[in-house]
Amino acid sequence: MSELRRQVVTGEPRTVHGAAGLPGLRTQGEIDEQTTLGAAYVRSLMRSQLRAGIAAFVVLAVPVAVLPLFFGALRNGPVEWLVLGFGCYPFLVLIAWWYVRRAERNERDFADLVRGRTPEHGPQ
């Protein structure tokens, strides 16, 4: 079973290179070589996506970590009410919106990079 599975997996870098559907190119050596290459590409995509995620998370986490201490020192109910009851929701949606734009741009850049390497195949 694992033999069979390996065969399926090795098809994947051809996808990355946009060459699916050309069975003639499917020699083992080429596929193995491209597997390593494909994995390296994906690693770089993962890194940029993780960076975007962590950036958004930090923007969220820092105020959240500080606010309870701040409110504890302030002891002013209406202010806490205003900030937590109303003010924070637009802030959350704004972070989400920024993150989605950034993540989609990362993916577009990655797709351009992959397709740019083998322009003769074009997008699938």
């Binding site: 069979l4 994947e12 996506q49 969220l60 959240v64 937590l84 949606v93």
Partner: protein, 537 residues
């Protein structure tokens, strides 16, 4: 509260749920429709459905009740419920959808290629789902009792029966419509009365309520008393405890996770999450308003066991005559929508796991059997154990989810060196200890001091324990890294536009129909020959 209006309102909500569910039955034809609505739900409908499912009794009734009793610190609950979706978005949403798995156990097995991890995750999913279902049924009992004087068990049994009918009949496709409808119903049910209540408050002079800087003396807040005293002991720690639990726990809630598989692709899953954040955020502007007004018009509810009833009782107290009765009926209908939608989502998720991992065969008939099993246990629990405050019980489910599923998802998606033994260690040490702490709290093992505070708000320590255990044990067992990790990671992170038939990491493949892949065509499958076919068993 005038039952002449409330009973028809509840009846209309129940009837609408059954009818829309029946409409789903007519268009729900295949197993795929049943489980994932054939993965064709667009962002707007799906976002309304996710929000409708998510806004439970804890949000509709519990938040206002907690604010009434404990003051503005409790605003962290709605903030956490919302921010949890942001954390879910930035770390989990798109890869989770791309994993192509349907439930958390599917994800665990696909990523880690281990049946043992799958079984343990299934156990936790069913446990967390039941933990979350019990308060929904109890809330329904409380609501019907206040509205009509019916015995407590009746409301829970009614919700259970309607949910079993709606879910077993139409599966995911039908509840997608039901949930979307119920989001708008819940929003309306709080928004319209809120408008009149604020007018009435303004007419009374519009003086702001007072908030004592410490908690009110917890004068017999029913079974919620231990938690109430613990907050008074160490309020700052308790606040951080609930922040960690809600921010990180949302991503692992079984009914939330299942919803992401109904998006057509990873990009849609992300966009859906942003819409959910907006919808949930808009809704959460309202319950605090009820808490604020309750502090002025119904302060004595803090002393009774019925702080959860603040939202239900306010319209009748502040607006006189028929108008007040009608507004009260609207709120009651909304509350029932809250029980029904969350309970059906949870039942759907738990039934999915039960029918896949417990029952011997799949298919629509076994799924229906799974629905019965998924609902029977929490119904029994709700009838036996009485009186844990709704929001507290839900908070515990969040803590368990944050300590077990959050490390599994985040590390599974972003860290290549995660191993099955590491995942098991994290699940048992993090999730297990949180579950134990919650059980000890409910059983009343420690009722005061730091020990009690630590047990009642476990997330602050149990989440790091879960992460550390997963990381350290994984590093200690490098030989156990799953064979296909690279391929799996590729699938989780590669945009679907770059997919083709050959890009199907075998670890995440399985029982054909459930993992239908809109982005791969038949021809690609055939191009791979008979070896690929056998992958689908």
């Amino acid at each position: 509260m005038n039952e002449a209006y409330a009973i028809p309102a509840v009846a209309v909500v129940v009837l609408a749920t059954v009818l829309i569910g029946g409409f789903g039955l007519r268009i729900s034809r295949t197993t795929s429709d049943f489980y994932v609505a054939s993965r064709t739900v667009g962002p707007r409908l799906n976002a309304a459905a996710i929000s409708g499912e998510y806004l439970s009794a804890a949000s509709f009734l519990g938040v206002a009740g907690l604010l009434l009793v404990h003051g503005p610190d409790m605003l962290w609950y709605p903030v956490g419920y919302t921010a949890g979706y942001l954390v879910l978005l930035v770390f989990v949403a798109a890869p989770l959808r791309r994993s192509g798995a349907y439930t958390l156990p599917d994800f665990a097995e696909g990523r880690l290629e281990s049946r043992e991890v799958r079984r343990v995750v299934s156990m936790f999913v069913v446990g967390a789902g039941w933990l979350y279902l019990v308060p929904q049924l109890q809330g329904a009992g409380l609501t019907l009792q206040i509205l009509t004087g019916a015995p407590r068990w009746f409301g829970g049994a009614l919700v259970a029966a309607v949910v079993i009918l709606a879910v077993a009949a139409g599966g995911m496709r039908s509840i997608t419509f039901v949930q979307a409808f119920q989001y708008w119903l819940k929003l309306t049910a709080l928004l319209v009365p809120a408008f009149f209540l604020v007018l009435a408050w303004h007419g009374d002079g519009g003086s702001p309520p007072t908030f004592p800087s410490t908690d009110l003396p917890s004068a017999g807040v029913g079974a919620g008393q231990p938690l109430a005293t613990s907050r008074a002991d160490h309020p700052l720690y308790a606040t951080y405890g609930l922040i960690v639990a809600t921010f990180l726990g949302t991503m692992g809630l079984p009914h939330v996770v299942v919803r992401f598989y109904t998006s057509p692709n990873g990009r849609a899953a992300r966009r859906t999450t942003v819409v959910v954040l907006a919808l949930v955020g808009v809704f959460y502007l309202l319950p605090p308003l009820y808490g604020w007004l309750g502090r002025i018009y119904a302060p004595e509810l803090t002393a009774a066991q019925d702080a959860d009833a603040t939202v239900l009782l306010l319209p009748g107290r502040m607006v006189d005559g028929v108008a007040g009765d009608l507004l009260g009926a609207l709120v009651a209908g909304g509350a029932f929508a809250a029980f029904l939608s969350t309970a059906s989502g949870l039942t759907m998720a738990v039934a999915g796991v039960v029918s896949q991992d417990v029952l011997p065969a799949r298919g629509v008939r076994h799924f229906r059997l799974g629905v019965l099993l998924a609902m029977a246990v929490p119904l029994g629990g709700a009838l036996l154990v009485d009186g844990v405050p709704v929001a507290d019980a839900v908070g515990m489910a969040f803590a368990v989810s944050a300590s077990s599923f959050c490390p599994l998802l985040v590390l599974g998606i972003w860290w290549r060196r995660l191993t099955p033994p590491g995942a098991l260690a994290g699940l048992f040490l993090g999730g297990g200890s949180a579950l134990l702490a919650v059980t000890l709290t409910v059983s009343g093992a420690a009722t005061s001091g730091w020990l009690h505070t630590l047990l009642a708000w476990p997330a602050v320590w149990s989440v790091p324990v879960g992460f550390l255990a997963m990381i350290l044990v994984s590093l200690a067992t490098p030989d156990a890294i799953p064979t296909h990790t690279t391929a799996t990671m590729t699938r989780l992170h590669l945009p679907e536009t770059l997919w083709s038939g050959s890009l199907r990491p075998p670890g995440l493949q399985g029982r054909g129909e459930l993992r239908d892949q809109p982005y791969t065509t038949r021809t690609h499958d055939e191009a791979q020959g008979p070896t690929a076919r056998r992958e689908h068993k």
